[in-house]
């Protein structure tokens, strides 16, 4: 039940109920108000125009003396009964003698022409005007009564004239209030959903979405909570995976270490042996042992890299790299080795249209190392290495050419080709391509980057 009251559904139902109640309530209020007006006015007499006219004439005729005081008193009585009324007295000479609450400017001296104009203007018009002569004959001047015509309207119509605007505005306020509350309700929901969406699409440093703060425990709150729990689980899974990866790396590193330590010892012994004099034929065996150590070392290295590569654990960190520079620096380190082996070395590195390749420099270095190592091991007989750049419409490439006996020829030092498998994996891992063409007079390997088609 508690859950229900926290829910959005409950809130929405409350808003609807309140809206219905408020509208009903407003109608009741309005209804009561009008009934009140009805009952208030129905009992009282609302005089008709004729009744007022007759009464005004009758009382004017019945006045005995026509002093200013008496007329004033007479006006005051009427004013009491009809607060909205205006009255004035014009005497037998046409002078405006007494006035009460005049709504317009009147002349002090009344002429026959003004009289005619006045009567013409007021006939059947607004305000309702009654003109009565004082006393029994027309020699004492006349008194005039002016009443707004709404005095004769029924009370309901009067009320609706006076209060319709308020009722209308009240209804508008109620409707606007309902709209506003509904808007706020949905706006709030929308905001929270957008927030949730934003945290789903924002990535933390670990590549997972960020957790979102749960402030309310309604439907969205529960969704947010579930979302957070999901991220937590993902994080834990990531953590586990990282730990496993770390363990695997450690294992491989330790294995490599443990294999190399005895190798180093063997080398120490062999080196000591080789320093002894008078070895004669044994020297050849020692040299072979020495060469085997180098081989095993290289094989261990390759095996480790291969295992890591296959498991995609070898970290690839691509960035914009000036490849010409990278290859040149690589060659600088290999140059003396080739020089020592009396190789003819040709280097022709011409800048490409774009020297920046998006690659991992350590991977590319590794590829070049592997290729040059292969030349040194399998194509030593050619005593020639050429590294040059090649640009066509389709691709930019580095070309490594030797004059060995080709790959079909079985070299004494041929391994299982694991070195080239590593090259293959790394080249493809960096979205590059490579080609080997090998004949009996040499091998040429091309590392290519295709140009984007415009």
């Amino acid at each position: 039940m508690k859950k229900f009251f926290r829910s959005l559904l409950a809130k929405y139902m409350l808003i609807i109920l309140m809206a219905i109640f408020l509208v009903q309530f407003a109608f009741i209020i309005i209804g009561t108000f009008f009934i009140g007006i009805e009952s208030k006015f129905v009992s009282e007499d609302v005089p008709t125009a004729t009744e007022i006219e007759e009464k005004w004439h009758k009382e004017a005729n019945n006045l005995q003396s026509f002093s200013k005081a008496e007329i004033s008193q007479h006006f005051a009585q009427w004013k009491k009964q009809y607060p909205d009324a205006s009255m004035f007295w014009v005497d037998e000479r046409g002078d405006l003698v007494e006035t009460v609450d005049l709504k317009e400017e009147l002349p002090q001296q009344w002429t026959a022409a003004f009289m005619a104009k006045f009567i013409k203007a007021r006939y059947g018009g607004e305000p309702f005007t009654v003109i009565a002569f004082l006393g029994k004959d027309e020699t004492n001047g006349f008194i005039v009564l002016e009443l707004p015509r709404k005095e004769f309207q029924p009370p309901l119509q009067q009320a609706s004239n006076d209060y319709a605007l308020f009722v209308f505005m009240g209804m508008a306020v109620i409707i606007l209030l309902f709209l506003f509350v509904s808007f706020m309700f949905f706006h709030n929901i929308r905001k929270r959903l957008l927030n949730l969406q934003a945290s789903m699409t924002t990535r933390d440093v670990d590549g997972l979405p960020v957790q979102t703060a749960v402030k309310k425990y309604d439907e969205i709150g529960r969704l947010e909570q579930t979302f957070n729990e999901m991220i937590q689980e993902l994080k834990e899974a990531n953590e586990r995976e990282k730990e496993e990866e770390q363990l695997r790396r450690e294992l491989i590193a330790n294995l490599s270490h443990d294999l190399r330590t005895p190798l180093t010892k063997m080398r120490a012994q062999i080196y000591s042996l080789s320093k002894e004099n008078g070895l004669g034929e044994k020297q050849a065996s020692i040299d072979m042992l020495e060469a085997s150590i180098v081989d095993i070392d290289r094989l261990i290295e390759n095996l480790m890299s291969y295992t890591l590569l296959i498991a995609s654990r070898y970290k690839l960190e691509k960035k914009e790299v000036d490849v010409i520079r990278l290859v040149r620096e690589c060659l600088a380190t290999w140059y003396s080795v080739f020089e020592k082996e009396e190789f003819e070395i040709e280097v022709e590195l011409q800048p490409f249209e774009n020297n920046q390749w998006f690659v991992d420099p350590s991977w590319l270095g590794r590829i070049i190392d592997n290729l040059l190592q292969n030349v040194l091991r399998h194509a030593r007989s050619g005593r020639y290495i050429q590294v040059k750049t090649e640009s066509t419409e389709r691709y930019d490439a580095f070309l490594f050419t030797d004059r060995g006996k080709g790959m079909q020829h079985v070299s004494n030092e041929k391994g299982a080709g694991i070195g080239l498998s590593i090259v293959d994996m790394m080249v493809k891992g960096m979205d590059l391509d490579w080609e080997i063409s090998s004949t009996e007079t040499g091998t040429s390997i091309k590392i290519m980057k295709y140009k984007k088609r415009v």
Binding site: R249, I252, A253, S256, H257, D258, L259, R260, T261, L263, T264, K265, M266, R267, A268, Y271, S272, I293, D297, E301, M304, Y314, K315, R325, R328, E329, L331, A332, T333, Y335, S336, E346, V347, E348, L349, P351, S362, V387
Partner: protein, 223 residues
């Protein structure tokens, strides 16, 4: 004075072999089997050779500590750990990283390079007809017995070559090493300075022997 090498290695066989070999090459060697006692010898050491897998504190931690306290002592990591991560971590503070199994000649060569780079070696270097005193970079023409004077940038350029003896240096490496700015393709500054340097150093600047041009790659000063 003999160059003092502090060598830390827990493996007995390898340790005694390396110590023997380095001694034979004319170095004074102190060999420790763990990080204990490093403080005692570090003040007199000219170079530290450090294994990674050691009992107690590992080589990385010891190396970092040494580098913190004695920044001008070069450290060479000597390890059977060949993973890129290990090398990167090692080279974060160490000056060189050599993997086992190594050839003693290679170790000796790398030690030489490091000593030269850190100018721990005050031995006279003879390059062709020149005699160079690395400490103050005094250059004597052995044939005429005259001292060769270099101007500012020439001096730094030659110093850079001497610190990287026998290494081939690309235009970019030289320019960035000496001028400390990124090299812009096509910039002729370096070539002009090399030409001036050759005019002073070479017997025949048209056929340079001291500063070799390695076609397509860069330059080298070889012993």
């Amino acid at each position: 004075m003999m160059v003092h090498v502090l060598y830390i290695e827990d493996e007995n066989e390898i340790g005694s072999w390396v110590k023997k070999d380095l001694k034979k090459r004319g170095y004074e060697v102190t060999w420790l089997t763990s990080g204990e006692g490093v403080e005692q010898y570090i003040s007199t050491a000219d170079l530290v050779i450090l294994d990674v897998m050691l009992p107690g504190l590992d080589g990385f931690s010891i190396g970092k500590r040494i580098k913190n306290d004695n920044g001008n002592v070069p450290i060479l990591m000597l390890s059977a750990r060949t993973a890129i991560e290990d090398k990167i971590e090692g080279l974060g503070f160490a000056d060189d990283y050599l993997t086992k199994p190594f050839h003693p000649d290679e170790l000796a060569a790398r030690v030489e390079v490091l000593l030269r780079r850190f100018q721990k070696n005050d031995e006279l270097i003879e390059i062709g007809h020149l005699a160079v005193y690395p400490e103050d970079l005094r250059i004597i023409n052995k044939k005429t017995e005259e001292e060769i004077q270099l101007t500012g940038k020439q001096y730094y350029l030659f110093q850079y070559f001497i610190r990287h003896l026998n290494q081939i240096l690309t235009k970019e490496q030289l320019y960035e090493g000496v001028w400390g700015e990124a090299y812009i393709e096509g910039d002729k500054t370096l070539m002009v300075h090399i030409r001036y340097l050759r005019e002073k150093l070479e017997e025949n600047p048209a056929k340079p022997k001291i500063i070799e041009t390695i076609r397509g790659i860069g330059y080298r000063v070889k012993l």
